[in-house]
């Protein structure tokens, strides 16, 4: 069975240099993939990205990331990405990563995603240009994420965004801010093609466990939610049975 380690919202800066590495080495020993669901930095600077590269780079298993809203804050997201990629970290934005473990192909589709809210309680593509821009960005984010997930032909499929696809994992956050924490469009995109696991971050006061309407297991791996360095998820045989 494929085992993945997942974490998010690590918000690294120089003050945390070296803190995470020992735990990640344990994660690399136990899992075949390490997933990091965005907000790797505090302000999205290259200097902070260098700390992330030191912590996450050079591990013996693939490290797959998406960026989060904090990683965009200084408008240096391209340089942040390049810094991470320079040490072999994979950064996904409407893209996929595929590998093979013991004859089982595993794919990850990732994107930052965006907010808009959830069915019946979300922003609409109507009115002022600012509101339409907000809504259209959410739609575009879900579209590129969904297209990436749909392109995976692997036996196992994992979905990863920073923003949440469901309300389940936001419980604990004030419901008034849920439209800024996630989007039902991400769940809709994932349910259209299916996945074995969907991980996200962003909602620090949320809860770990959730599920899409279509039955995909969703896990909020933001570190304040996990209260442990990482989560380990083993992808069971399809249909269960053991």
């Amino acid at each position: 069975m494929t085992c993945v380690a997942a974490l998010g919202d690590i918000h690294l800066d120089r003050d945390l240099a070296g803190h995470l590495r020992p735990s990640l080495e344990i994660a690399a020993d136990k899992a075949e993939l390490i997933l990091v669901a965005g907000d790797l930095t505090r302000h999205g600077t290259v200097e902070e990205a260098k700390v992330v590269a030191e912590e996450l780079g050079g591990l013996p298993v693939p490290v797959i990331c998406v960026l989060g809203n904090h990683d965009y804050h200084s408008d240096q997201q391209d340089a942040v990405r390049a810094t991470l990629e320079s040490v072999g970290i994979v950064v996904l934005e409407g893209e996929t990563f595929e590998t093979d473990f013991d004859g089982v192909s595993v794919g990850v589709a990732g994107s930052k995603g965006f907010g808009i809210g959830f069915a019946g309680r979300c922003a609409s593509d109507f009115g002022e240009p600012e509101m339409k821009a907000f809504t259209r960005h959410a739609k575009q984010s879900a579209q590129i994420f969904g297209a990436a997930l749909a392109s995976l032909k692997t036996t196992r499929r994992i979905a990863m965004t920073h923003f949440s696809p469901v309300e389940d994992t936001l419980h604990g956050e004030p419901c008034e801010i849920w439209p800024f924490l996630g989007s039902y469009l991400l769940a809709e995109a994932a349910d259209a093609v299916g996945a074995d696991l969907y991980v996200h971050g962003h909602a620090h006061a949320g809860t770990e466990h959730g599920m899409t309407a279509g039955g995909i297991q969703v896990r909020n791996v933001a570190q304040p939610v996990l209260r442990r360095p990482f989560a380990l998820y083993r992808l069971g045989e399809s249909g269960g049975g053991d």
Partner: protein, 93 residues
């Protein structure tokens, strides 16, 4: 210090402090909840280090110099693993 109750003002002050904690480069913490009651500023949430918690106090104090601060933000080092414990593992079906 004598505090004259003004609930409406307290609500806006709380939001201003919350905005400052999110926007100030010393903190950049979006997950800190601020409540102003009875002349005191209460801070709740979770950060990774004691230094980050202290920075939140500094920013809040600058925006509410006449209020007493109650910083209940907890510190959770992202790398802390209890010695001898194994990470919990979940099998998904």
């Amino acid at each position: 210090m004598t505090h004259e109750p003004n609930p409406g003002e307290d609500v806006y002050l709380a939001k201003a402090i919350e905005e400052a904690i999110g926007g100030d480069e010393r903190t950049a913490e979006l997950g800190v909840h601020v409540d102003v009651r009875g002349g005191r500023v209460f801070l709740h949430g979770m950060v990774a280090t004691q230094q980050r918690k202290d920075a939140i106090s500094s920013v809040a104090a600058e925006h509410a110099p006449n209020h007493q601060l109650v910083n209940d933000v907890s510190v959770n080092d992202p790398g802390a693993t209890a010695t001898g414990t194994q990470p919990a593992e979940e099998t998904l079906r």
